[in-house]
Symmetry: C2
Subunit: 76 residues, 2 copies
């Protein structure tokens, strides 16, 4: 199984979702990317279809937008 990617931006909603979700998933199978500090990853995230954070991109490429912290546009 490939890894999932959890995109966040350090916002309270993001941290809260990350804490809850990563408790349920196998942390070794999740790459966590902070788009606020790693702006070079914004293009990649958009390519996957991420429109807002926090979001989890599953190994099969589906984007699960979880609650709402910030839109991708606001991070540019």
């Amino acid at each position: 199984m490939n890894k999932s990617t959890f995109y966040h931006a350090g916002c309270p909603v993001c941290v809260s979702a990350e804490t809850s979700l990563l408790e349920l998933l196998d942390p070794t199978n999740v790459e966590v990317i902070n788009l606020n500090t790693s702006k070079d990853k914004l293009t990649e995230a958009e390519k996957y279809g991420v429109q807002s954070v926090p979001a989890l991109v599953t190994p099969n490429g589906q984007v699960l937008h979880i609650n709402f912290g910030a839109s991708i546009d606001d991070l540019k």
Copy 2:
């Protein structure tokens, strides 16, 4: 660890999220409830803070609204 609860309503967005998410979680630790067919669970879901489906309520009571399929009000 207590179980998580995945609320859905049979909608395409719900089914898609369920398929992706339950592949990543341990299915034995997730109770799946269809609020469209189990309307007696609507009150419980609202009590947890579920506003739309699909949504995952974690063992610690946090609600993760995942993408957007339908609002709880539309299921009543």
